[in-house]
């Protein structure tokens, strides 16, 4: 269950708003300010974590889910920091998340470019519940 459950808004509110309340203020703002956010809370949390962690690590703000991540330009130690930071962010919102650094390191090895919406969908299939 997401942390701060007692502070969750009433069930009548949208999943986005629920997510916004369950996350930190920066993520909350991001959640409610994007019109392209996914339709369920888990995907919204994942997207918020992607936005926040990439910004923390020195990348430009990701404004929508059509953005494409060019892994080959990212240093190895930054890849590790992104992976660990994102795992910690998602876990901190009450979900079970595997370590993500191995996945991001492999995306770099394979020279892939990843659309953020695809990353959200891929990560959502790994994150439980």
């Amino acid at each position: 269950m997401p942390e701060n459950e007692s502070e969750n808004p009433p069930a009548s509110e949208s999943p986005l708003t629920e997510t916004a309340a369950a996350t930190d203020p920066q993520a909350a703002l991001l959640a409610v300010s994007t019109s392209a956010a996914p339709g369920d809370a888990k995907k919204a949390v994942i997207y918020n974590c992607i936005v926040v962690i990439f910004l923390e690590q020195g990348f430009p703000e990701i404004n929508d889910q059509s953005a494409r991540i060019v892994w080959s330009t990212i240093d190895d130690q930054v890849i590790m920091a992104i992976g660990n930071g994102m795992s910690s962010c998602i876990t901190g919102k009450g979900f079970h998340c595997p370590a993500l650094a191995p996945m991001f390191a492999t995306l770099k090895e394979m020279n892939q470019v990843t659309v953020v919406s695809d990353l959200v969908t891929g990560m959502a299939s790994m994150v439980t519940p």
Partner: protein
């Protein structure tokens, strides 16, 4: 003959490029009770709910596979450590080794180990190389009549980097930011003419890493470096001992122009600057004194599928006894254009251009390349503290 070889390489480069996307099996123990593995396509997969043994450093521990998820052309395996009492011990085991073996059903699979602590990512090995045809205008100073026919050559370029926490193998505190690095870079051709780049360097350094000053300077390094430059096709060598600073400048972000799809998210401007002592041997002359060298690299994305990587290197040879044959300032500008055929294959270099000189090069060159061989990247987290 040379043109035929160049054509052959150009043709082959497309086939070689197909092999650039590598996948290596890897493992990370991010918490005491959980491990995550990436298992590449072609290897047998563990079954959910079944045990998986992690063999590491002559010891082993058991996990239970919770979830196997196929994503992006490989598989992510999430497993829980079975014996919680030994969890801490297992995590310590995993944090100190470069490799482990996964055993499940009848499969035994070697994996590289990524450290749990981001700071220990300072242990790394990576390399890349490329071969391709190069062309340069025929502007030999000894022959004032410029030939309309370009010069041809085969270009070899590559680099390898090794980094390890601490000072060259000495025991180091877990939280120390000290890192030792060694690197080799080669940029040369198969021809003796100075119309082509011939700039090759080996360097070792001890530096502080993971330094940050907000969005002005991030992922920074600062330390001491010794290095040697050597031209393979002329009698020129530099030996330097310098203080060096490098890192990202996030305020100078990468940009995407004229794209009808989403913008590209990539590293911002990165830089390296060094200042120190240089000893230069150039044919029969010697010179020594202070040297400054600065390099900057920037990524620009155009339309929906082009990446332009721009870089510049500026060198000031401020030597007290500098001979006239040794240039005081050198500038080398380079642009590499890569094309994105599809997201799974990623950007592939299709052409590049260099103008100027750097390091051990005798004079300015202007050369361009079409076609790049293969590049390989390796993030192994080559363990150990």
């Amino acid at each position: 003959m040379k043109s035929a070889l160049a054509l052959l390489l150009l043709t082959a480069s497309a086939a070689l490029a197909q092999t650039t996307g590598t996948c290596t099996n890897k493992l990370q123990g991010l918490s005491e009770t959980q491990i995550t593995a990436v298992i590449c396509e072609g290897s047998a997969l563990p079954l959910e709910g079944q045990p998986m043994i992690v063999e590491v450093g002559g010891s082993q521990f058991e996990t239970n596979v919770k979830k196997v998820t196929p994503v992006f052309g490989f598989n992510v395996v999430d497993a829980a450590v079975t014996d919680a009492g030994k969890a801490q011990e297992n995590l310590i085991l995993l944090s100190g080794v470069p490799a482990a073996t996964l055993q499940y059903q009848s499969t035994s699979l070697p994996v590289s180990v990524l450290p749990a602590d981001p700071l220990t990512a300072k242990n790394r090995v990576d390399y890349e190389w490329a071969i391709g045809p190069a062309k340069a205008p025929n502007t030999d100073p000894s022959n004032p009549t410029t030939d309309a026919t370009d010069l041809d050559a085969i270009r070899f370029s590559g680099s390898g980097n090794y980094a390890r926490g601490g000072i060259f193998g000495m025991k180091n505190g877990k939280d120390s930011l000290l890192q030792s690095t060694a690197s080799v870079s080669i940029d040369t051709t198969d021809t003796d003419t100075p119309s082509f780049a011939d700039n090759n360097r080996a360097a070792v350094a001890v530096q502080f890493t993971n330094l940050n000053a907000g969005r002005i300077w991030m992922h920074g390094n600062a330390g001491f470096e010794t290095r040697a430059d050597k031209a393979f096709h002329s009698d020129v060598q530099n030996f330097d001992a310098v203080l060096k600073v490098s890192g990202w400048v996030p305020v100078l972000r990468s940009f995407t122009l004229f794209s009808t799809q989403g913008e590209f998210i990539a590293a911002p401007l990165s830089f390296t600057a060094s200042y120190g002592y240089r000893n230069r041997h150039q044919q029969a002359t010697k010179a020594s004194g202070r040297v400054f060298e600065g390099t900057a690299q920037y990524n620009l994305f155009l339309f929906d599928d082009y990446q332009v990587t721009l870089s510049g290197t500026w060198t000031v040879n401020d030597m007290t006894d500098r001979a006239s044959a040794v240039p005081r300032t050198q500038r080398l500008y380079a642009a590499t254009i890569s094309y994105l055929a599809n997201n799974r294959a990623g950007f592939r270099g299709v052409a590049s251009f260099q103008d100027g000189s750097a390091g051990s090069m005798l004079r300015d060159v202007r050369q361009y390349f079409v076609g790049v061989g293969l590049a390989r990247l390796n993030l192994g987290g080559k363990g150990g503290m």
